[in-house]
Symmetry: C2
Subunit: 452 residues, 2 copies
């Protein structure tokens, strides 16, 4: 089989992927045809076997190829792909992606994680593999209690921690419990994740919008609500921290309304220009549900997050969780406990903090080299920045231009939950691309901004 691959100049792996896609699209490779092994193809092309394996992996993930042990890698059925349901199924990945929400998954510490998995599984009692406490393995809750106290100032005892399969999962359980207790209204920030508003609505809660200004959520305008979902350390997507005076005001508001505060501390570990802002939770552990996750610090695919609960929530959340996924994957939890206890988690966060800070600086340099009409905010922390566009251009125009050069961007409008006047802006996730693709992604962004 001669593949006629002409990788071109885009990086060996990307070129190989593009060549296979093109060969399938044009019909030169038809469904079911078997590809050479990664070893054989690597030898033919004179490139690293890993590069071929990674390209195959990506193409399998996208549905162009099928990997079946024993019968090797074959060309997938594009007709079959076309029949896939549209809703929820992710579209084929754009080549460059500066949308927010994901860390650099290529930086996931695979070797360290596997080593922690090996150590923790060899030490785990057999009973760990059975059904268990819906809060999750005690090893991990112990490790998290120590970690959160040390790095975020959270007051957490292991029996009040519930490990769940991502923040959405934990938040969905919380909404379910709030709703079952008679809550009807959840206040959310005027700009926030639409996904969370959907979850609240699914659990029969009405969402109201809290206006956000330079000091973060305007606590004085929350009004009546049974609970509020906030991102105090780093507002998502606008990027500021909740002003100190508002932190105090929030506690008063919660007491006055006998309300619950949900503190979504999704990227609290990543702060560049000064010390991390501590969590709000220790100021009122019986009012505030603190939520953290590995989705930004390690990888979203792990599906590990945690709630630190006021005592009165623990039983109800356990009961709700028992009827959902039960205990959440035990092996991942044991591995994370070992990963934290051995100090590797801290090291990974320090490493990534430096890497993301460099990326942020690259972004600033690239954009300040151009028209200064673009204001960049929310850059002191986290994995994303806000690019405020001049009045001469709309979000939609820039996004469409970028899309034509295979760069995915997200506009602020995506996160809007308010009728107030809206300025055009882009929410740039500068952690998303793998390192090698980042400079090109930035270049494409500047092109799209300045319509070159």
């Amino acid at each position: 089989l001669d593949l006629h691959l002409e990788p071109g100049g885009r990086g060996v792996r990307a070129g190989l992927e593009a060549a296979v896609r093109e060969a399938v699209r044009s019909g030169r490779l038809s469904a079911g045809v078997r590809l050479p092994s990664s070893r054989a193809l690597a030898a033919d092309l004179g490139i690293a076997r890993n590069t071929v394996a990674e390209a195959y992996g990506q193409l399998v993930a996208e549905g162009w190829l099928l990997a079946t042990q024993g019968s090797g890698t074959r060309v997938g059925n594009r007709a079959g792909l076309a029949q896939q349901p549209a809703t929820g199924a992710p579209p084929l990945q754009p080549r460059y992606d500066l949308r927010p929400g994901s860390p650099d998954v290529a930086a996931f510490p695979r070797a360290g994680w596997l080593a922690a998995a090996r150590r923790s599984l060899s030490l785990a009692p057999a009973t760990a593999l059975g059904y268990g406490d819906p809060r999750g393995r005690p090893e991990l809750r112990e490790a998290l209690a120590g970690y959160l106290a040390r790095t975020r100032g959270v007051r957490a005892s292991p029996d009040r921690i519930v490990v769940c399969a991502g923040f959405s999962h934990g938040f969905s359980l919380l909404c379910q419990v709030l709703s079952a207790r008679g809550a009807t209204t959840l206040a959310v920030e005027g700009y926030s994740q639409p996904q969370y508003r959907k979850i609240a609505v699914t659990q029969r809660l009405t969402t109201t919008a809290v206006p956000v200004d330079a000091g973060g959520a305007d606590i004085g305008r929350i009004g009546a609500a049974d609970a509020v979902l906030l991102t105090p350390a780093h507002q998502f997507p606008l990027g500021m921290a909740l002003a100190p005076a508002r932190r105090s005001k929030l506690l008063d508001w919660a007491a006055d309304h006998d309300a619950t505060v949900i503190e979504d501390d999704y990227d609290g570990e990543f702060r560049y220009d000064r010390q991390p802002i501590g969590a709000l939770q220790p100021r009122s552990p019986e009012r505030i549900v603190y939520a953290g996750t590995t989705s930004k610090s390690l990888a979203p695919g792990l599906r590990l997050a945690w709630l630190v609960l006021p005592a009165h929530f623990v039983d109800d959340i356990i009961a709700a969780k028992a009827l959902s996924d039960g205990v959440t994957s035990t092996l991942e939890k044991l591995t994370l406990a070992e990963f934290i206890n051995s100090g590797q988690y801290d090291r990974q966060i320090r490493r990534q903090r430096q890497a993301y800070r460099r990326r942020r600086d690259q972004l600033l340099t690239a954009l300040h080299g151009g028209v200064s009409l673009i204001r960049i905010t929310g850059i002191a922390a986290g994995l994303h920045a806000l690019l405020q566009l001049p009045a001469t251009v709309t979000e939609e125009e820039v996004i469409a231009r970028a899309s034509r050069s295979d760069l995915a961007l997200d506009g602020l409008n995506t996160y809007r939950h308010t009728e107030e006047p809206h300025h055009s802006a882009l929410v740039i996730g500068y952690a998303t691309p793998p390192g090698h693709a980042y400079p090109t992604a930035i270049e494409k962004l500047t092109e799209a901004l300045w319509d070159r």
Copy 2:
């Protein structure tokens, strides 16, 4: 620190565990005291380090000890344990357990699983670690489609498979979707898992009971319902297969009522006296949701199960899942795909099928040696058997007697969802204890039955 451990004659590890528990209970070891390292204690006692590590692990799991990397293993706070919320939190494990629902978790193939994790993670594209298709990784859905067709006759295409975090999780999503589409009634077998009835009720469905007799669920008496949840290959907990005539009748019923059939194939791989009974699903793939799991074949702690869906359910389940745990742990899914594709999954099932068959035969031998008033049924398949008790004794009496010798048993009453006359019976899970504890568990069972 001198521990004064007197392991006694119950097996080294069990003796060590008992000695530590006793020392904590009596106050000889008080909260916070640091225990010697497993290496040091093993040397002191002249036993294997692994034995000590396992005993420590078990005691940590039970809350007697706390393991904190860096500061070693310490005595836990029993007062703290007492304050733990009661609901949902598992009670301290009984020493012997013949309750149904769990495989022998000590037989989990740790080394093989870790090897599969290493191989699959080193080959996975980085994008696998990001957010992804809520159905789960394509590698696993491909592997499952092949496996289910081969071993259970299921007609599954990868795009119709949704991987979820245990059967309960998938079932909960199904109930949510059924309910959102206007369904009001779910029929369940008159004896069935109470957990599933709770899930249905949480999702605003009413459950009705289908009487079960020697031929399985009495399809003619389902009546009006929007969906029915059945265990056709091996009724849980009674143990018979659904009679062939009823399999056909079920399809007619579903067509007449435009209803959905949920086929819970929880232990279909384990059949001892003849060929497995194939799945119902291929007879009507657009009516039947097929559900399988690794909770019996490998370990419940993995939290991996799958739904094979009629086309019209796919989009709605994807949307519901996106608001629950999103994608379910990616690394576990990649590992399972590799485990299936490399043939290890089949080998593990064959190995365990032999082991469980031997256990079942030991159970029969032990019980037939005694009073023959006890009838044992449901033994052709699965991991549990039904012991029908003579009229002279109640379930509750036998369970209470067993509990006094630290053996946990489950009565049929636990699973009852019907007002019809009820015979006393025990549901014996003969896969639950680790191999070394099984003979003693059986001995304690016969003692409890015959009140010796």
